[in-house]
Symmetry: C2
Subunit: 194 residues, 2 copies
């Protein structure tokens, strides 16, 4: 079991509706040492890859992606949910359905921040149905840049997002893949990654 | 002139309506080296203070606050805009009017993440009318925790938020205080901090 799986067992809480709460260490109150360790682990898993930018999506993706960008020494770009009056110029746009908030958002990235020369590592905290990840991939594609890989902190292995992304041929690394979880007992099992 | 003021002059863009765009290095595409430098500078400005938590507000505050929390070796808590079905239990709530988005949000922090023993450093990217900062202060007050200080990347010195917070007696440090800016010429002047 790796450091993130151990932490999920220790501090994660399973709630009805396939909700895994990790807000005490990953997406509300955040453990800065854990985030650094996540950064180092993605550096290890994508070692040898030439990466020019890390791309994530607001909000909780930012805290996961920043240590990764730091490890690679490249800029971090985060896709914004479209609403800001401060965003002008041309934008790449993707439709993303949020599992958590049960609605569809337009997410945008300014065109000048992704170019055909970019080799992009996409990072996010959760992967469930894969909508957010597919939206980010479509933005990288629209920029004619290359998706080097996708790094996810926690994948819900019982939903089909991970399989779909892997079947499309992308190099997807999830630090913890939850195979099943039970809100009544609180029991969580992880997919073996050996 | 400090490193952030220099960077604003180099890469910031003044837009009509008192908008300063820093999205090429601070809040859309982010320079990880600059963020580290911001973390170190706040560590220097609040040196000797006992700090147990860093508090910020989503989204763009997270990238500024994380390197600060990392420097102090304490957890980062970010206030969320109230919308999530994943948030249960008791919450501290504040009303915050967004200058950028022209609307009022409820922002929330789970009560279990702020306790009366906490000594909190509040961090955000921008300070204009001070609504976000006052909302965060009110949340720390509600938790009966102590606000050790407030650290802001860019303060709009021609708006009254900074003065109001300082008049309330808080130790407020802004790395760059914009005294005036002109959308026609692009000219920006900073308040001297010597």
């Amino acid at each position: 079991m790796n450091f993130l799986e151990e932490r999920i067992l220790k501090d994660g809480v399973v709630k009805p509706g396939n909700v895994l709460k990790v807000d005490s260490f990953l997406n509300h109150k955040m453990d800065v040492y854990l985030l650094d360790e996540i950064g180092r682990e993605f550096k290890r898993r994508f070692a040898g890859e030439k990466i020019t930018k890390v791309l994530t999506i607001e909000s909780s993706g930012i805290a996961i992606a920043l240590p990764v960008a730091r490890e690679f020494g490249v800029p971090l770009v985060f896709a914004k949910k479209a609403k800001s009056i401060n965003i002008d110029g041309e934008m790449y746009v993707a439709e993303v359905e949020s599992f958590t908030h049960k609605k569809t958002n337009q997410v945008i990235v300014a065109k000048r921040f992704l170019t055909p020369e970019d080799r992009v590592l996409i990072i996010d905290d959760f992967l469930a149905n894969g909508c957010a990840l597919q939206g980010l991939i479509s933005i990288v594609d629209a920029a004619e840049a290359e998706v080097v890989g996708c790094g996810i902190a926690i994948e819900k292995g019982f939903q089909d997002g991970g399989e779909r992304i892997r079947n499309l041929g992308y190099h997807l690394e999830s630090l913890a893949i939850v195979e099943s979880m039970d809100a009544q007992t609180g029991h969580i099992t992880f997919r073996s990654q050996n």
